[in-house]
């Protein structure tokens, strides 16, 4: 499934963002306030851009419900106050689809198993640790059976093992993934391609090896970085100097 963002502009925040993803894991990186989350919010329609378009499979999907059948999202929202069980939270992913109790139950069970939280099914969502919550929310996104998955910092609150687990899991799903990541080394390891945002503008795009070069990192993140090859995967990895670039 193709996801195309065409000349997206939200006045004062992002300008003229064009981005494509097609059956691959695409990362958006950039400093705080560079417009990453705003771009994603336009994709999952929490925000209407001033101009530009978001096309799923080449179409501008009109209804929110129609979109929700194609695209699911993991947002940064985390102020839940209602005491739902884990299974209830995951089952919400079935909301945009026609109801079918037996099928829904099977899909919820599959999604729970996929992220390895079956044992938490009847636990209270609010009683979970940050990492468990994140995995449950990913299970909900999976239960939604999306063909495009949008993730806003999916590794937030996770320890390193679960960060790796979640990103490996996302890759295995085999759907088009658009994800914002803060950790550049994780982005380099798990994304097929990266887009770099700075001050609301797209400043680079390409494979991690093409994008993550010292000049760009100095210009965008104001850091001095050395690029090394990961000894087993061969992915570019960054080592940072302690001094920031003025």
């Amino acid at each position: 499934m193709r996801l195309d963002i065409e000349q997206l502009t939200v006045r004062g925040i992002v300008e003229d963002i064009t981005l494509h993803a097609s059956d691959e894991v695409v990362g958006i990186v950039g400093p705080n306030g560079s417009g990453k989350s705003t771009t994603l919010r336009c994709v999952y329609r929490a925000l209407t851009p001033d101009s530009g378009a978001v096309l799923v499979d080449g179409r501008n999907v009109a209804g929110r419900k129609d979109l929700a059948r194609e695209l699911s999202a993991l947002t940064q929202e985390s102020q839940v106050e209602f005491d739902f069980t884990v299974a209830e939270v995951v089952e919400m992913g079935r909301l945009p689809h026609a109801r079918s109790p037996s099928r829904d139950r099977a899909l919820v069970a599959d999604a729970l198993a996929t992220v390895d939280v079956t044992h938490l099914a009847s636990r209270s969502f609010l009683s979970l640790s940050g990492g468990e919550r994140q995995r449950v929310l990913i299970a909900r996104a999976i239960a939604q059976q999306p063909r495009v998955l949008v993730l806003d910092e999916p590794t937030n609150h996770l320890d390193i093992r679960h960060q790796l687990d979640v990103l490996a899991l996302v890759r295995r799903l085999g759907v088009t993934v658009l994800t914002v990541l803060h950790d550049l080394n994780l982005a380099a390891s798990y994304c097929d391609r990266l887009y770099v945002l700075d001050e609301g503008r797209l400043v680079a795009s390409g494979t991690p090896a093409e994008v993550l070069v010292p000049e760009l990192l100095a210009q965008v993140f104001h850091i001095t970085a050395h690029i090394v090859r990961h000894p087993t995967s061969g992915a570019p990895q960054l080592l940072f100097d302690q001094e920031v670039v003025a």
């Binding site: 929110r64 947002t75 106050e81 009683s127 939604q144």
Partner: protein, 340 residues
């Protein structure tokens, strides 16, 4: 789930019969059941029971049924409003309806406006100013980005203070104490004015409102998780919240008009229900109104009997029963709405 609902329906039927039988003039349970059966099936009432029949059928039954309707409606509205504004402290009155209605009711009671409407003056006055207040809250809270929960609650709370102040001013300016007393009584909730004519509108609006909410239980679940999450699950959040606003305001406005501002029910029954069945609105929404209906029937019985022949305001009793009960459940259980 089905067994819970049937148990609550049975409890409600028993509560209604008991509510009709109990009162300052007790009518034996068996006689009450017999008279109700006769009335419903068109049987013959013996001449020596005519007095009791009048009490049962003309005075108590409409009042008990209205108590059930008001209890059910306020509980359902409380459930919907708490999800709509995602706030544990929200109740049907958080959007200013009851305080707005109190302006109309006190104006009728103390200034004698709308006297042309006779016995309907108080209800009509309360209904009109209640809905007027809600409309004002809606227009004030609305922004170009829609209705955000926090703005709704803050606007409703702020304007409620203003409306209450006007109502209080009217009470203190009242020319004679009796008017102030009846206004006060209304503010705390009473079913003393119930009769067969006050039932149809309240019942129809409440039933239609609960039916609407009953078709939106999964959407309420999603909304409770947050606006962005609900959006990604395919919900038009602003439109849905506006619908909820209109439905809950409509039910509350009608109920306040017939019973005054009965406190506690709409705040606590949703919480009590969640403590027992969990947060999923597919379970909460059928259970809370049924429980609320029985609850208010018994509250009204207490209101009639505790200080007979005087009547107590419902709000005093709901608080006296509900607060300890709620604190007990909250301290005992693992309930977490509102954070750990």
């Amino acid at each position: 789930m089905i067994s819970r609902i049937s148990a609550l329906v049975c409890a409600l039927v028993v509560s209604v019969v008991a509510g009709v039988a109990l009162g300052p003039v007790p009518v034996p349970f068996g006689v009450t059941a017999e008279l109700l059966r006769a009335a419903l099936t068109g049987g013959v009432v013996p001449a020596d029971l005519a007095g009791q029949y009048h009490i049962v059928w003309d005075i108590r039954l409409p009042r008990v049924l209205l108590a059930a309707v008001v209890g059910a409606g306020l509980s359902a509205v409380g459930v919907a409003i708490q999800a709509m504004v995602r706030n544990a402290l929200a109740d049907p009155y958080v959007l200013g309806i009851s305080s707005g209605a109190s302006v109309g009711a006190t104006a009728v009671a103390t200034l004698g406006v709308l006297q042309g409407l006779g016995v309907y003056a108080l209800s009509t006055g309360a209904f009109l100013t209640g809905l007027g207040a809600t409309a004002l809250v809606y227009l004030t809270a609305r922004t170009s980005r829609g209705l955000t929960p926090l703005r709704l609650v803050l606007t409703g709370t702020a304007l409620a203070y203003g409306f209450s102040a006007v109502a209080m001013l009217l009470v203190f300016q009242a020319p004679h104490g009796e008017a102030a007393r009846s206004a006060m009584f209304w503010l705390l909730g009473s079913l003393g004015g119930a009769n067969w004519r006050s039932l149809p509108v309240a019942t129809a609006v409440t039933a239609a409102g609960i039916a609407f909410l009953g078709t939106r239980t999964r959407q309420l679940n999603a909304l409770a998780m947050g606006d962005e999450t609900a959006t990604t699950l395919g919900i038009e959040v602003t439109r849905f919240r506006t619908q909820l606003f209109v439905v809950t305001a409509g039910i509350t406005g009608v109920l306040v008009a017939v019973s005054g501002a009965v406190g506690f029910v709409g705040l606590m029954l949703p919480h009590l229900t969640r403590m027992v069945v969990g947060a999923d609105h597919r379970r909460v929404l059928p259970i809370a109104p049924l429980a609320g209906a029985s609850f208010l029937v018994w509250v009204d019985v207490a209101a009639r009997m505790l200080a007979a022949p005087e009547e107590l305001p419902l709000g005093v009793i709901t608080a006296a029963i509900g607060v300890p009960c709620f604190i007990f459940l909250m301290r005992r259980g693992t309930y977490v709405f509102g954070g750990r």
